[in-house]
């Protein structure tokens, strides 16, 4: 595939930058977060946001939906939520001239952007209802498979505290999220700015800067960003380095990682790196793009060992060290 020209890339970058600017107006002081969220979105991936309550996770997702002009649904996950409450149910309905029939009533999953708020509060059965939707972008209820609208994004939030009555996401579910981003607090100056500019504490609803067609164009353009062979090899080496069962695995991984990253992680990392290059206005992926995104893309896919838990080591720490240890160029 031929490399995009500079004007073409600049036009696409401008559109994406407009979304970024809009997000920055909604969420003050979280430029890196909003950039990574948009990066995952352009790569066609789902996003898991983790942070304490009140940090603006929900507002971020809502603002993104508005800015991109996509259909948006929100599902508040609770312990009594059922899979049918998300995917939809068949109901008996009087159809004129046809009598009563079972008609499929679509659930909130049938939206282009779905906010799964506090996803870890639903039961595993309900969480699993998202598996097919996130991977296959379709829902099967009884015998019927229903396609979800394109583009389809799931942006989920979860609270790292108040874990009583919650159900940690299974590994299969975590692996379906392109990135897992940690939402942190903001500084005093940002808080001051929020207080002064938003008397009711709510951001203004932004005007859409994109629509479905242009977003799909942007997503298609991401695929045209060149992924050099050396960078692809670097991604492969990096992902492979997270697997403790590989011959020659580092002591760091052997001691602290029980299960490494899957090939899906490598694909997600390459896609996100492409999107990051597009956002930066570059026609080709660089090593820096991979390094910057590797913790967000890989860390939540690793299962750390018991010893790592005792040491207080997180999977993000492991990936961070691997990024520094794995050489960019093959020897």
């Amino acid at each position: 595939m031929a490399m995009m020209t500079e004007p073409e890339l600049q036009a696409l970058q401008t559109q994406a930058q407009a979304v970024l600017d809009g997000l920055d107006q909604i969420l003050y002081g979280q430029e890196a977060l909003t950039r990574q969220v948009l990066t995952a979105l352009l790569a066609g991936g789902h996003v898991l946001l983790e942070g304490l309550p009140g940090l603006g996770k929900t507002e971020l997702v809502k603002g993104l939906a508005h800015l991109s002009g996509l259909d948006f649904k929100r599902v508040q996950f609770t312990p009594d939520l059922l899979p049918g409450d998300i995917t939809g149910n068949h109901i008996l309905q009087d159809v004129p001239g046809q009598g009563r029939q079972l008609v499929f009533r679509k659930g909130p999953i049938f939206a282009q952007i779905v906010l799964a708020d506090e996803i870890n509060r639903a039961s595993p059965k309900t969480q699993s209802a998202l598996l097919e939707a996130m991977q296959e972008r379709s829902v099967t209820v009884l015998d019927a498979t229903h396609r979800l609208p394109a583009p389809f994004f799931v942006l989920a939030t979860q609270n790292p505290v108040e874990l009583d009555g919650t159900y940690p996401l299974p590994e299969a579910q975590l692996d379906r999220f392109h990135v897992k981003l940690e939402v942190t607090g903001v500084g005093q100056d940002v808080l001051t700015r929020i207080l002064l500019s938003r008397p009711d504490g709510r951001p203004e609803t932004p005007a859409p800067v994109l629509d479905t067609e242009r977003l799909l164009t942007l997503m298609a353009a991401v695929q045209r960003i060149a992924l050099p062979e050396a960078v692809a090899e670097y991604i492969a080496r990096l992902v492979d380095a997270t697997r403790p069962e590989v011959v020659g695995a580092s002591a760091l991984v052997k001691d602290n990682v029980r299960w490494g990253a899957s090939p899906r992680a490598a694909i997600a990392l390459a896609g996100c790196a492409r999107a990051a290059a597009l956002l930066a206005g570059r026609p080709s992926v660089g090593f820096a793009d991979v390094k910057a995104l590797a913790p967000a893309v890989i860390a939540h896919r690793l299962i750390k060992s018991y010893e790592a838990g005792l040491r207080g080591l997180t999977t993000r720490d492991v990936v961070g060290e691997l990024v520094g240890a794995v050489p960019e160029l093959a020897s």
């Binding site: 031929a2 490399m3 995009m4 020209t5 500079e6 004007p7 073409e8 060149a226 050099p228 062979e229 050396a230 960078v231 090899e233 290059a277 930066a280 570059r282 026609p283 080709s284 992926v285 660089g286 090593f287 820096a288 793009d289 960019e328 160029l329 093959a330």
Partner: protein, 555 residues
């Protein structure tokens, strides 16, 4: 996409890729070349040092070795750094060096003709300002060190081996003396202590000669050792001749005996046998007599027999000869078989019962008997028996005349074998085969003279086994040549002190020049010349005792 024709920027990327490839190859060559050069030079230095120290014939090759060690790695260097570099790797490295954030890699992956000019122009400045990594010269000091070692090895002076120094001419004399000493000890003609003393003396002399040359004192010392050895051999030879003569003449008829076959001879022989039977008859063991009385009776009977029979005198003579031989040459008598040794042991006991052996002779005799008993025990253990008839004689049992004759025959044979060994050692002044033959001839002459003294020449009154024709000159016999030490018949010169002069010489005495010099200075007042015995002139005819016994009151 706007495809543009290649521009200088495009060429710049390709040039940078080519340059990087060349640099990486050179770096790879350098990484291999420097350690290789250091190792090869170090090896060359070691080889050159080896040549300098021990291979003078390869002296001319040293500079070539150094040159080869320097050139060989340089010649093979183009082949050492052959690394296959992929374009993607080169592009990635260029991208990193130029901080292009993937742009260089992306452009390099595309054909040069289809690259977008704007992208390439954006890349031009970073490519122009690219900073190449420095080459790794860390191994260069090792190369310098190895080169310095090569130069130092070349500057080493060539060492040539010392020429082979021939052994000094006097070394042969030491070797000859040592071999003679070893042979003398091996054949048993020299006591071990004496041989060890002489060997140590030779070692000291050799060490002294090796350190400060063969001085006159060293020559004198070596001569002294040779003379001691010659004297020991001559003494052993004389004792051996005496023993052989005694063994050969024990059963010879006396001079006044009637000739065999005559009635007188038969009557005398019958009478002698009768007396022997009476004497050899066993005493009744049940007779209640004390041990002392029994021993006294046996002693008396022995004395009676010895005073009547000439065998007793010759037995005494044989015992003395054998004891002297055992003292002078302890190794010669060990060759006797166990039966002969048992018979001799009984003969020695009988002779010893007469109390006529000197303490020294008795001691040598006891030592020889112990050796004989030990040897007989070993032979008995190995199953070599069959001499029971002769060995069956118990303690205190008298020796049978036939057994004695048989033992004497075996003794004669063994002594002749010993004489052959002794002849191989060479005599005084003799050397090699000539000396050996001369020594044997001298020994035979000595035995003949002894036999002549032991056997009476004709009829008339016998003067005993030591009877010889007295002459007034110093020359003992017709066979003796001037300057030779000639042995005398046993008992020919019985000295007042109990010793017997065995040989005399007609030549001047062997005097130690060093000792004489010391005597002249008064340093050695008690020095006794080695040949003092030869100058004794005491004459004590052996028949004097026989005459006095003949006219004694007890007969």
């Amino acid at each position: 996409m706007n495809a543009t024709p290649p521009t200088s920027s495009v060429d710049l990327l390709e040039r940078r890729l080519t340059e990087l490839s060349r640099r990486k190859r050179n770096t790879a060559r350098l990484l291999v070349l420097l350690p290789t050069l250091a190792v090869v030079l170090a090896v060359a230095a070691a080889v050159i040092v080896g040549v300098r120290l021990g291979l003078p014939e390869a002296e001319d090759a040293a500079p070539w070795i150094a040159g080869g060690a320097l050139l060989l790695p340089l010649l093979v260097a183009p082949f050492l750094g052959r690394v296959r570099l992929r374009r993607a790797q080169l592009a990635a490295e260029i991208d990193t060096l130029a901080d292009a954030r993937g742009l260089a890699m992306g452009l390099a992956a595309e054909p040069a003709a289809t690259r977008d000019e704007r992208w390439t122009s954006r890349l031009r400045r970073p490519l122009e300002e690219i900073t190449w990594p420095r080459r790794d010269w860390s191994k260069l000091p090792l190369v310098g060190l190895a080169a310095a070692a090569v130069i130092a090895a070349l500057l080493l002076p060539q060492r040539y081996p010392d020429p082979v120094v021939p052994p000094p001419p006097w070394q042969a004399h030491f070797e000859r003396t040592k071999s003679r000493l070893e042979a003398a000890e091996t054949h048993g003609v020299l006591p071990h202590d004496e041989a060890e003393r002489l060997a140590k003396q030779v070692e000291r002399l050799e060490a002294h000669a090796g350190k400060s040359g063969m001085s006159q004192a060293a020559w004198d010392g070596l001569d002294r050792v040779d003379r001691d050895l010659d004297r020991a051999i001559a003494d052993a030879r004389a004792r051996l001749a005496e023993a052989i003569a005694a063994a050969q003449t024990t059963d010879q008829p006396r001079a006044n005996d009637p000739p065999p076959g005559t009635p007188g001879f038969e009557a005398a022989e019958a009478e002698r046998r009768r007396r022997d039977r009476d004497r050899l008859k066993k005493k009744n063991p049940e007779t209640p007599e004390g041990a002392a009385e029994q021993q006294a009776a046996e002693r008396k009977r022995l004395l009676e027999r010895l005073t009547r029979d000439r065998e007793d005198e010759r037995l005494q003579q044989l015992a003395k000869s054998l004891s002297g031989l055992a003292e002078a040459a302890p190794g010669l008598l060990e060759r006797l078989d166990s039966a002969t040794q048992e018979a001799l042991r009984q003969a020695m006991e009988q002779a010893n019962a007469l109390d006529q052996l000197s303490p020294e002779a008795r001691e040598a005799l006891e030592r020889m008997l112990r050796q004989a008993a030990q040897q007989a025990g070993q032979q008995g253990e190995s199953g070599q028996e069959g001499q029971g008839g002769q060995q069956g004689s118990g303690e205190g049992q008298q020796l049978d005349p036939e057994a004695l004759a048989k033992a004497l025959k075996a003794l004669e044979k063994a002594l002749e074998e010993g004489a052959g060994q002794l002849g191989q050692l060479g005599g005084p002044g003799g050397e090699g085969g000539e000396g050996e033959g001369e020594g044997m001839a001298g020994l035979q002459r000595m035995i003949a003279r002894l036999r002549a003294g032991l056997v009476a020449p004709g009829a008339g009154v016998s003067r005993g086994p030591g009877s010889v024709a007295l002459t007034q000159g110093a020359h003992p016999g017709a066979e003796a040549t001037p300057g030779e030490v000639g042995a005398l018949p046993p008992g020919a010169k019985e000295n007042p002190d109990g010793s017997i002069t065995l040989a005399v010489t007609s030549r001047d005495p062997d005097l130690d020049p060093a000792a004489l010099e010391a005597l002249s200075r008064g340093a050695l007042e008690n020095h006794d010349p080695a040949n003092a015995d030869a100058r004794r002139v005491h004459i004590a005819p052996r028949h004097r005792g026989a005459v006095s016994r003949y006219f004694g009151d007890d007969d």
